[in-house]
C-alpha cells in the first residue's frame, strides 16, 4: 500500500552518485551537472522506483549512467594534469587523488565504469551484475582485471593487453 521513498535520506546518496559520476567523467562542474540532472530525473520518476528490485543507490546509479551516456564523451584525464599539479606544489593527499583520477581516466570506458561502480558508488559485485545484466562471477573477474590495468597505468608501464572479447562486453 505505502511506497518506499528512495530519497528519504539524500545526503549519502548524493555523495555516492557524485563519486561514481566523477570517476566516470572527471571531478568538477561536469560531474556536478550530471549529479544534479540525475536527482532531477529521480524526483520526476520517483514513483517508478521498485524497492523489490534493488536499493535506492543502485536505482540512482542506473539513472546517472543514462545521464552520462546521453552526454558527449569527456576528454580523458592525462598525465599532464598530474605534471601541472606537481608544479603547483599541492599537498600529498591532493596529489594522490589527482594521480588516481588520472589513472582511472586513462582506463577503457568499461573498466572505468566498473571501477566507478565498485569504488565510487560503493556497489557490491552482485549489484553491479544486476545493473549490467551479467553474472556476479563475471563482474568480479572483470573488476580484478580492471584493477590490474589500473595498477599498470599507475606504474607507468604498458597496461595488460585488453582482449577484444573482454572489451566488447
Amino acid at each position: 500500500m505505502f511506497r518506499v521513498d528512495p530519497l528519504a535520506n539524500p545526503e549519502p546518496l548524493i555523495r555516492r552518485v557524485y563519486s561514481y559520476v566523477a570517476y566516470r567523467v572527471g571531478d568538477g562542474p561536469d560531474a556536478e551537472d550530471i549529479t544534479s540532472e540525475t536527482f532531477e530525473r529521480a524526483l520526476r520518476y520517483k514513483k517508478s522506483y521498485d524497492s523489490t528490485k534493488g536499493e535506492p543507490a543502485a536505482w540512482l546509479i542506473g539513472i546517472a549512467r543514462r545521464c552520462i551516456e546521453g552526454r558527449p564523451p569527456s576528454p580523458e584525464l592525462s598525465s599532464e594534469h598530474l605534471e601541472a599539479a606537481d608544479h603547483r606544489d599541492l599537498e600529498d593527499d591532493a596529489l594522490r587523488r589527482l594521480a588516481l583520477s588520472a589513472a582511472v581516466g586513462r582506463l577503457e570506458e568499461r573498466d572505468r565504469d566498473l571501477i566507478a561502480l565498485r569504488y565510487g558508488a560503493d556497489l557490491t559485485a552482485r549489484q553491479i551484475a544486476e545493473l549490467q545484466g551479467a553474472k556476479t562471477n563475471a563482474i568480479e573477474v572483470a573488476l580484478h582485471r580492471a584493477l590490474a590495468r589500473l595498477r599498470a597505468h599507475i606504474e607507468g608501464s604498458d597496461p595488460e593487453p585488453v582482449r577484444k572479447s573482454q572489451a566488447g562486453r
Partner: protein
C-alpha cells in the same frame, strides 16, 4: 607520493575508496534542499488525500446503517439545547400581578346611560332626527 606508490599493490582498492571524489558542500546542500522540498509537497498532498479518503469512508459506513439521520437528529438536538442555554433573555415584565393591581392607575368612571366619552368627557348622544326611541303605548 612515493609512499603511496609503495603501497599501491596492496591497498589500491583502499586508495580508490579513500580518494574517491567528493561533492562540494554547496552541491550537497542544494540537492538535499531540493529533495526535501519535493518530499514536503508530496507529503502534503498525501495527507489531504488520506483525510479525504477517511472522511468518505466514515460517511459511507454511517450512511449504510442509517447513521446519518441519527447523527443529524443528534446534532440538531445539540444545537437546540445549546441555543436554549446560550440565548439571552430580556427583562421579564409581569403584566398581571397583585403589586401591579395595587399601584395601577385608577380606572376611569363609566359614562352614564345615553352618554359617551368624547375627548375624556362624557357627552350626551344626539338623537338623529325623525327617530323615536319612545316605548310604544301599552294596549292591553
Amino acid at each position: 607520493m612515493r609512499s603511496w606508490r609503495r603501497n599501491r599493490e596492496t591497498g589500491l582498492e583502499a586508495e580508490l575508496r579513500a580518494n574517491r571524489p567528493e561533492p562540494s558542500r554547496e552541491l550537497v546542500h542544494q540537492l538535499e534542499a531540493r529533495v526535501r522540498q519535493d518530499g514536503r509537497q508530496a507529503r502534503g498532498s498525501f495527507r489531504l488525500a488520506f483525510v479525504s479518503a477517511i472522511a468518505v469512508g466514515v460517511l459511507a459506513a454511517l450512511g449504510s446503517v442509517g447513521g446519518l439521520g441519527y447523527a443529524a437528529t443528534g446534532a440538531g438536538q445539540a444545537v437546540a439545547k445549546a441555543t436554549r442555554i446560550v440565548h439571552v433573555h430580556g427583562v421579564t415584565q409581569v403584566h398581571k400581578s397583585a403589586a401591579r393591581d395595587q399601584y395601577a392607575p385608577t380606572p376611569k368612571r363609566k359614562c352614564r346611560k345615553g352618554t359617551k366619552r368624547v375627548k375624556g368627557k362624557c357627552k350626551r348622544i344626539k338623537k338623529a332626527k325623525g327617530v323615536n326611541f319612545r316605548r310604544p303605548p301599552f294596549t292591553g
